[in-house]
């Protein structure tokens, strides 16, 4: 019997009286590439924050392969196999991309090794491989903070991938990037996902991208799920067209 990789049950949280998650329940199956769409401020990022322990729900539970992880600290959830890339890339901006990545790779063992260099052969090889996979090899030695947004997003995703997660959460991987670049980022990303056999959830604004890449799509509105299903069907749903597609 296979249980869902991630299960959220009746998650609820409000900020200043506004419900950013209103009794949200959903399941993510292994191997799935799930998209979340919805207007700005509908609670998409909040949902990722709830799943990764950045904020605690007022009520509800999150399970990772059956294990309740609600209320755990982000570092503990990260160690359990949920990795995240952020809407605004979170990098060690004063370090090179490679150095960022090396630290991510090292952190799988905890970073308690205080005497051997971070830039050791085994980590370097793994970093090179990942940089290659994400098309960042040419920028490996650039200071992360100096890169354009699209590349910073990719670097951020690479850090998450370096953790070898069971589940990858991506918050608008293609926002802040020209329409042209979006597809190349997505192609790179999908290639990496397939190579690693990953399960992922991604928040996205671009309907074409959702339609082309997602196995399933969830439509968020005011902190709850308005509709879900196959992209081709959901994106035709008049309610969805009205709240999301028309707006975006």
């Amino acid at each position: 019997m296979s249980q869902p990789l991630l299960k959220a049950e009746s998650l609820t949280i409000a900020f200043a009286g506004i419900k950013a998650a209103d009794n949200v329940s959903l399941e993510i199956e292994k191997g799935e590439f799930l998209a979340i769409i919805g207007p700005n401020g509908s609670g998409k990022t909040t949902f990722l924050n709830l799943c990764t322990g950045y904020i605690r729900p007022v009520s509800g539970e999150v399970y990772l392969e059956g294990e309740p992880i609600t209320g755990w600290a982000p570092r503990r959830i990260a160690r359990q196999g949920i990795a995240r890339a952020f809407q605004i890339p979170q990098l060690f901006t004063d370090q090179t991309v490679r150095s960022n990545l090396l630290l991510a790779i090292a952190s799988r063992q905890g970073v308690w090794d205080g005497l051997k260099p971070l830039a050791r052969r085994r980590y370097q090889e793994e970093a090179d491989e990942l940089l290659e996979l994400l098309g960042l090899s040419a920028h490996a030695d650039a200071i992360a903070g100096t890169l354009p947004e699209g590349l910073r997003k990719l670097a951020d995703i690479t850090l998450a991938l370096a953790l070898k997660p069971r589940l990858l959460l991506l918050d608008e991987p293609t926002s802040g990037v020209s329409a042209l670049e979006r597809f190349s980022i997505m192609e790179t990303l999908m290639n990496a996902m397939r190579t690693k056999g990953l399960t992922a959830l991604f928040v996205e604004h671009d309907m074409e991208i959702v339609e082309r890449y997602a196995d399933r799509v969830l439509v968020w509105n005011s902190g709850s799920i308005l509709a879900q299903g196959k992209p081709a069907e959901v994106l035709q749903d008049p309610r969805v067209v009205e709240t999301v597609v028309g707006v975006a």
Partner: protein, 320 residues
């Protein structure tokens, strides 16, 4: 890089002949190195973006530990004193740190200050244990079973301090290149990302804090046996401020920075006090202003920059 090492080796050699070439500098340099250890500790926390305005308490803790051991237990071997003081201070640092490293920014700075003021008050008031404001006299330690004259001991201590500085600098350089060393800096740049990599910023900081306290303790113990007297003033908040200043002035870009800053300041201090007693604060202030405006990387930045220039000039590719 090679030029940099050559530069350090030359500086080290120059320091090593001080007891013969400039005996008056020997004591000044011993104290400079002692304070340098504490400043390296402060610099480590600065890399994490945390300013401790209380680290003189660990310097004092190391000094008093050394004094207590000699006076109470009768053990008087220099090496035992240094090792024991460092370890005891590390334990104190871990205890204080466990509470303080939850805090950031101004809260961290002020809490360190507050704890150090309590520590200072205890040293001053607990007359029966600490000798109160008179402090404690520290007899000249033995060295590996040998009883030395004060003058002889001072020379030995100078070289021991010099050797320890080289060892700590070597280990420090390694540490900063290690995953843990990078994690310390990562707390400054992006703590959220670090946590999302599964790393506990609290644990990383606790280790850094403990190391920084231990280094200050080592420095304090060296000062105690060099001066032969420990006082509550060792823990006074102005001393903590001095350590921050030393670290910033020297530069936190490399382990050598705080030592350079400390040696520079002690020499300027000695000269200034001799030449123009009342102008010390003025000279200090002016020096600091110059460094902040012209050398944002500290004196260490000056050293690495000139080393860079020399090496690129040699390669015939003047970058600047």
């Amino acid at each position: 890089m090679k030029i940099l090492y050559a530069l350090f080796a030359a500086a080290f050699a120059a320091l090593a002949i001080v007891p013969f070439a400039a005996p008056w500098l020997q004591f000044v340099l011993t104290i400079a190195i002692a304070k340098g250890f504490a400043a390296v500790g402060v610099a480590l926390l600065l890399r994490a973006g945390l300013i401790s305005i209380g680290h003189a308490m660990f310097y004092a803790a190391g000094a008093y530990t050394a004094a207590f051991i000699v006076l109470r237990s009768g053990i008087s071997d220099l090496f035992v004193l240094l090792i024991a003081s460092t370890l005891v201070t590390a334990v104190i640092g871990a205890l204080v740190g466990a509470y303080l490293v939850r805090y950031r920014a101004i809260f961290f700075a002020m809490l360190n200050l507050a704890v150090s003021m309590v520590f200072f008050a205890l040293l001053s008031k607990l007359y029966g244990i600490t000798g109160g404001t008179d402090g404690l006299r520290v007899p000249v330690p033995t060295v590996l079973g040998m009883t030395l004259t004060k003058a002889g001991f001072d020379i030995v201590l100078f070289y021991v301090a010099l050797a320890l500085m080289a060892i700590i600098a070597g280990l420090g350089v390694q540490f900063l290149k290690s995953p843990l060393g990078h994690a310390v800096g990562a707390i400054h740049t992006n703590e959220v990302r670090l946590e999302y990599l599964g790393v506990s910023a609290w644990s990383v900081l606790l280790i850094a804090y403990t190391i920084s306290a231990a280094l200050a303790g080592l420095g304090g113990a060296i000062a105690a046996v060099s001066i032969g007297h420990v006082l509550p003033d060792y823990a006074y908040w102005t001393e903590s401020g001095h350590l921050v200043l030393t670290a910033v002035l020297g530069g936190i870009g490399g382990v050598a920075g705080p030592f350079i800053g400390s040696i520079f300041l002690e020499i300027v201090h000695t000269v200034a006090v001799g030449v123009a007693h009342n102008a010390w604060n003025l000279i200090m202030g002016a020096t600091l202003l110059l460094v902040i405006f012209f050398l944002p990387q500290g004196l260490y930045g000056l050293v690495t920059k000139s080393a860079d220039k020399t090496s690129s000039a040699k390669l015939g590719e003047n970058k600047s």
